[in-house]
């Protein structure tokens, strides 16, 4: 299937045939892309285009072809950045074939897109996805008639369940076989810009008459019955928060025990393989390998099961269609903060990782709304911070209270975002329209959920291997040098002591200060660094923390860790997305000050009442 398993350097004047996937949002375009490209997809960047696309090289019909998954668009004439990017791509880069993915049950409006491509003269194949759903709506489609009218091959498929996939694959393969390899983009063949003609409602109707029959009445569907409860004006929100709590409970009850298993595995590897292997070397080198490299890596490894679980839960929320409904539920509230329901969805995404959430703010057109959303997203308790909190809270709280403490941090994460949005909504004033599509509820498949869990972990580990290893090695260096020094005599200890006038009032000792400094590189490093700072394995650190930290100190540390300067990658993404040094620096300074103030109030307040 795959001709080049490794990402090859991009060649825009490629000799390969290039197929692009086009379609509206919520049509299962990415699911179809995954099916056709398998696991070979990688993130590609194109000269002059600000967004990166998933792409893959696939052998189809004995010939190597490139598939590019373009962002979802509503209209080729549309105003959003994604729509502009797609136009720009078609203008600049040669395309042999467009594979247009449409939602079969919404053909009455989506047929516009193939008509626009036809007007541009780009050879296309139309893939009507989600035929299973269309059947449930009672929609009847005659693909032969559509093929004749559109003068493009039309295939029916369910990308999710694979039905009709073979036939679709054949059609794409045939179309690609007869397509020529264009040498240039549309721009160079006379079409200066991609501006397809406006297509009237009448044209759409004529195109479909006799070929597609839509039901005349909306059936009472499962979706309607579920929405009656889940979007209920009174019960909707409590059910939403209950669902969120359920996800956290799952992580606590299933994720944590799975971590212990991983710890046992890495511990066993250390004693049976690594320790004997490094024993002939000098002590300093042994320490470097065991405490610097392995200590950090083992800690990261122990969180892989937790991450898989977390992103599987996110996949279920997203694929089921509930995530967009949460935008509806929250909008009345978000609008008062100068944000909109989509900001809330992005904030939710931020709970996985702030970085994709920041990139997702591109759907918002108004710069003010985007900036305000980007200012609050870093307060979302991302999975990297979750690792830190789970570990520290488990060390200082008994099991049942730990879950409550963790939940309270999630609440704080929301409260911080709300206060910030409220404070700054006057500065970043938003007048963006709010219109979202609510897809029907869909049962996520195991395949989709597992692919998501695995995909996110793969991305995390790619980041982890560079960021975290580097972080762990540098922290080993400053905590082991000068040679022979231990604890606060090391360089790191001195930095921690130097910062004491600031950190002492919030209950954070020099060791933890040091861990926080390295948390700026990436929050994941905080834990890896604790392993190195104390030169202990994860279980022993847990014991050490429970003996040396009061719960007030531990919680104050968590508050600070939740709110202070986002990780390096988050910062770089904010800078890239806002294209403003001023704004990006402001987010840094603001979050640091805010974190300190919150920890100070909590630590001093609690200490005052307790003692």
């Amino acid at each position: 299937m795959i001709c080049h398993p490794e990402p090859s350097p991009l060649n825009t004047e490629t000799s390969l045939k290039r197929a692009v996937l086009l379609g509206m949002p919520n049509t299962g375009k990415s699911t179809f892309f995954n099916r056709i490209t398998g696991a070979s997809a990688f993130v590609g960047n194109w000269p002059g285009i600000t967004v990166s696309f998933m792409q893959a090289e696939v052998t189809i019909n004995g010939e190597c072809a490139e598939f590019v998954d373009l962002p979802g668009i509503y209209d080729l004439n549309g105003f959003s950045d994604d729509e502009k990017v797609v136009r720009q791509f078609l203008e600049q880069f040669p395309v042999s074939l467009a594979v247009i993915i449409l939602n079969a049950s919404q053909l009455d409006r989506q047929i516009r897109l193939p008509l626009q491509l036809k007007a541009l003269g780009i050879p296309s194949v139309v893939v009507l996805n989600m035929v299973d759903e269309a059947e449930r709506f009672g929609i009847k489609i005659d693909p032969e008639k559509l093929t004749q009218r559109l003068e493009m091959p039309v295939a029916l498929v369910s990308a999710k369940y694979g039905r009709g996939y073979f036939r679709t694959y054949q059609l794409i393969s045939q179309a690609l076989g007869s397509a020529v390899t264009p040498a240039v983009g549309l721009q160079t063949i006379g079409l200066q810009t991609v501006s397809p003609p406006e297509i009237s409602a009448q044209t759409l109707e004529d195109m479909l008459a006799g070929a597609v029959s839509m039901p005349s009445q909306a059936a009472i569907t499962v979706t309607q019955r579920l929405d009656a409860v889940l979007l209920h004006p009174l019960w909707g929100l409590p059910l939403f928060f209950l669902g969120m709590f359920g996800v956290f409970w799952l992580i606590w009850q299933v994720g944590l025990p799975s971590q212990d298993l991983m710890d046992q595995l890495t511990g066993w590897l250390q004693t049976t393989i690594i320790e004997p292997a490094v024993s002939p070397f000098p002590l300093l080198f042994q320490s470097f390998i065991l405490n610097g490299l392995w200590g950090g890596l083992a800690t990261i490894a122990s969180f892989v099961p937790l991450l898989v679980l977390f992103f599987m839960a996110m996949a279920v929320l997203e694929d089921s269609g509930y995530l967009s409904r949460s935008a509806y539920l929250m909008d009345a509230f978000m609008a008062r903060l100068g944000l909109d329901g989509r900001s809330f969805v992005m904030q939710m995404m931020g709970f996985g990782c702030n970085v994709p959430a920041l990139m997702g703010t591109r759907v918002m057109r108004s710069q003010a709304l985007r900036w305000l959303t980007m200012l609050v997203i870093p307060f979302s308790l991302c999975s990297a911070r979750l690792q830190v909190f789970v570990f520290i809270l488990a060390a200082v709280f008994p099991a049942s209270q730990g879950a409550i403490a963790l939940f309270s941090l999630y609440v704080l994460s929301f409260v911080a975002a709300i206060c910030t949005a409220f404070l700054f909504q006057g500065i970043f004033k938003n007048d963006e329209p709010f219109v979202l599509e609510l897809p029907p509820y869909r049962l996520p498949t195991l395949r989709q959920v597992l692919l998501r869990g695995w995909g996110e972990v793969r991305i995390f580990l790619t980041r982890a291997s560079s960021f975290i290893a580097l972080g762990c090695i540098s922290i080993w260096l400053i905590t082991s040098l000068p040679i022979g020094a231990t604890g606060l005599d090391t360089i790191g200890g001195r930095i921690g002591e130097f910062l004491q006038p600031i950190m002492h009032p919030i209950g954070i000792d020099p060791y933890l200060t040091l861990a926080l400094i390295f948390g700026i590189v990436a929050k994941e490093v905080v834990l890896g660094s604790l392993a190195v700072i104390y030169a202990l394995n994860p279980t022993a650190i847990s014991q050490h923390l429970s003996e040396n930290l009061t719960w007030v100190q531990a919680y104050s540390f968590c508050i600070f860790c939740l709110l202070y300067t986002p990780c390096l990658t988050t910062f770089v993404t904010t800078l890239n997305e806002s294209k403003s040094w001023k704004f990006a620096s402001f987010t840094l300074v603001f979050s640091f000050g805010f974190a300190w103030a919150c920890s100070f109030v909590f630590y001093q307040g609690t200490s005052f009442f307790q003692f």
Binding site: Y74, Q106, A201, T223, P233, S324, P433, L436
Partner: protein, 87 residues
């Protein structure tokens, strides 16, 4: 035939789309709404309205459901249908 805006419709009411006014957001939003299925002569129904002035949940045609703020709904002009969609 009296013209109303979508935001005037009460929950459960069915109407027919007349046209989309350009409003404060100009042609961009009108084009987007059209691509989302809000086209003249399509039946449109308000399924529910969120409390506290929140967004409204609508169905246009038979298979597309959208949510939008009441502000945006004011741009969509509708008239009452002769034959109701859900009698």
């Amino acid at each position: 035939m009296t013209l109303l805006t979508l935001s005037d419709l009460s929950v459960g009411a069915v109407a027919i789309v007349s046209s989309i006014a350009q409003g404060a957001h100009g042609k961009g939003l009108a084009t987007r709404l059209e691509a989302m299925g809000i086209m003249p002569n399509k039946p449109i129904q308000v399924l529910r309205k969120a409390w506290l002035g929140g967004p409204i949940h609508i169905r246009v045609g038979t298979t597309t459901e959208l949510v939008m703020r009441r502000q945006e709904a004011k741009n969509i002009l509708v008239h009452h249908s002769q034959t109701p969609l859900n009698p």
